[in-house]
Symmetry: D4
């Protein structure tokens, strides 16, 4: 089995959505680079501060928290929607903190647009994630499994 050689033109664009407080995206990027996988990675803004403040920083202050959040979320949605539409695969990681409704929201968008969904989360939160998992093509328990899937899908035949 050869990987990514001439004759095979299978390539993937993968959007890494969800949790932004651990280094899981770096693990995947490093693996892709080291294994030379034919995969392009797209990401959201992973810098929490600028992600929350971009609306008011660029377009002007708001007194109400609602509008501050609204302006930021809309600007960020430009990146999210562009990335999801361009992706073949959307990976959504659910961590052990925060509400993470944006992650489930992205999973819903990816599902409705017919993207292949891979979900990563710990076993403990299987029950509340059952609807998201039911739409997924793979449910991984850790990032290593996600990398193994991407490597497997990139094999050359």
């Amino acid at each position: 089995m050869k990987q990514n050689q001439r004759g095979n033109t299978m390539r993937y664009t993968v959007y890494l959505s969800g949790e932004i407080h651990t280094d899981w995206r770096e693990k995947i990027k490093t693996a892709i680079s080291e294994k030379n996988l034919p995969i392009d990675i797209l990401t959201p803004n992973t810098d929490h501060g600028s992600s929350d403040d971009c609306g008011t920083n660029i377009l002007g202050a708001e007194e109400k928290h609602f509008w501050k959040d609204n302006k930021a979320a809309k600007i960020n949605s430009i990146r999210h929607m562009t990335a999801i539409k361009r992706a073949d695969i959307v990976v959504v990681r659910f961590g052990d903190k925060y509400k993470q409704w944006n992650a489930a929201f992205d999973a819903g968008i990816a599902t409705a647009l017919g993207k292949s969904l891979i979900v990563e989360h710990a076993e403990e939160i299987t029950h509340p994630l059952k609807e998201v998992d039911a739409a997924a093509m793979a449910v991984a328990e850790n990032t290593e499994q996600v990398i193994e899937i991407l490597e497997y899908l990139s094999r050359d035949y």
Copy 2:
């Protein structure tokens, strides 16, 4: 201003997604009935027990929780997807308990399918819901506001 008289054929199909532990759907149904609004309501299974157990009850037991949940969530998705696709408006209510990732997931599906999204939630959870709210055509703080919107949209001109 007349409501729902001949000459106006504006009608809506509305799917009520999200939280299933309070009577908010009954309030909306009652209001529609009392005000004679031209609105058809679609709902998920709101009976928690049968919703969780339908997969194993009908298709056979599973040892692993993951597969029990998976079978149930898939059967329920038939109803959810049929309802969202048929709806003009999807209302998603976030309560004060549980993870409610399925609600955010439904909101993502509705958004990607171009449905008009109305979100209802308390002000305290504005920040984690900002991505969902940013895709909504209205963000209500209580069910009375949702009813007022539906009534307003049903006016006859």
Copy 3:
């Protein structure tokens, strides 16, 4: 030539977008009723006051004009999008007052969704409306012509 008899099932759903300060919609509705045309009419909210204020009236006051307008326009978009999607034909009338960007915006949406577009406007504003007219299946100078087109399209063969 018979109109709307059994054997012919041609029917149209028509959305009347645009100018709301004259009685052109009433003329069309009256003609449809008198001529018994097989046409269902959909309309926006034509009451200027409630259309402008619905957001703040229902969902709470805003200090900034921008957000007041934003909340109202989003609620109204639920009706507009439902109507345009349901329509076979979208009629957009441009009057002689106001900016009417919402009318041109609706025409763009209708065009992109593949709806048959009929535009009505006075000859004097042909030049600035040339992009909208170029997407239209008919450009009428008055409401009588719109009615004649609807009657012609409803003939039974």
Copy 4:
């Protein structure tokens, strides 16, 4: 935060629609070039004369103004539609002169095709543009803000 380096493949195609009488497009192009942003810019014909006359110049004269405009607008629509469909983001600027219905028309097309819409206009015309703004992911008051948004969206993570 690094911009546009290897490892991140986020790129955008942006169509600059709307007002053609100031140099706002040049400002954006210059900024993209200077900041080396991963953005491809598409534009309409910004030469007023050839844009108005292309139909009759190429396909033959017309006595009626309507058909002169019609022929030109249709040829130009080839460029507009190709650009909007190809774009991830459509920026529409409304100036302080002219009817600019074509700008609102483009915004409607972009919205219906699911493109991310950024609108730029002065605060004074917020009310008549409320329907367009309500569909936008960002409403800027000047071109500098548009550039800041594009720069923010292009950050590498």
Copy 5:
């Protein structure tokens, strides 16, 4: 074999496009009526005169033949497009006279929209119609065969 009884809800909407100088549509309508088939028939304007003149009759005279034809064809396209979109089956009949490019054009639209295409034409014109026939689900040599197909498809099981 029972026809169209309760328990079977199979119904078809059929658009009869193409040649308008013989009574083939009447034959089909009569058969549907006599056999009580669960089929709704849609037709174009089959009155040659009003079809050619509708544009100038309603919207005003044109000196150039091109614009007279253009105005008429666009108004008629409203009916054609509404009918094709609504149809499950599009039947296109090619006669032995005239260019009939509009019939082939309708067949192309129906094909691209995923409608089931039935073509009727004499054997002699098989070669020039091979591209249209190749997209068809049935190629009939006469209207009786078209009726037999519709009857067969309507059987109840």
Copy 6:
């Protein structure tokens, strides 16, 4: 729990594809009738003889088996495609005889069109059906389970 009462407008259109040599469709129809479920059933032609011969019977004999089959399969595809497009749910039953590639083909079409797929087959043929099962929302081992699912989905809340 009430079934199919006023206030709930959840209804389903279900296409019963696949195996035609047992009475499984009758079982489902009978159950729907007896339980008064809000379900419309669509079926293929289940009469093997006329299904195989319809092409040559209606459109003329063929010497080659290939063209005889081709003409029949195309006419039947009109019914299949109309039914699948109209359905919310496609049920595909795989029996213990014949190749049944048409059943798997229908399942592929239903999947790509975003229909909810229910597959019924004996446990012994799980391995060769794994790709079809992986796209299904439910995999039943017998028709009773399919009926239980349809009943569950039709509950009124």
Copy 7:
């Protein structure tokens, strides 16, 4: 006005459908090459002999003309459909000979897929082509006009 320089990324893919008995495609290709226009040209098989015979040459002889034509037309449709789907602009030329129903068929497909249609034909056949012309963004009388349009659309701003 600069053509095709850096900073402008407007490009077009153009499919040249229709008449294959004159050198009009060569004229367009030569002009694109000489003027260095940013346009990719796609064509059908323009060799009449191999186009007619490809089905039987490759897949085996047929006694009936119908099936010979059918096999050829289907193989050719692979190229036609790939080209139309990939194109931004479809140019269809109608010559003065032959039925050319395939040209009108391609125009219908292009229209339904939302491609920008340019039609070229002599003035004498305006009336029978009125439905096709009505869907076109430009109706040229000769190939020089088509080239002028392509050059105009490729200008850099």
Copy 8:
């Protein structure tokens, strides 16, 4: 006739689905390479062992065969769906062994997504494959014919 020279930009992406126990894909790849055809080939995992075991190998063991198969089939569907969506042409080969329902399933997906389908199979299995063949643009009896078709479609004009 020149092949794949400048001036012609016709290219194809081809997915080779179906039977994985003979070297037919290698024949096609070799021919494309030797003839320098402008064709990109996409393939499924053709290694039977890893294809069956990928789910449990990567995501953990399952006691039930059903879930082992389910996990593998879902991971493989990521590759299949990415490939079919990206392809212009889907070639499906049916061999003389195994159930091959996955091949028919892929053919159904390709058909519903509007891809050009080429089917290869021995004459003996024409009858059970008639529905699949009826959706195909070419039905070949051997791989040499498939190669001839690809070569023919790649000719430069």
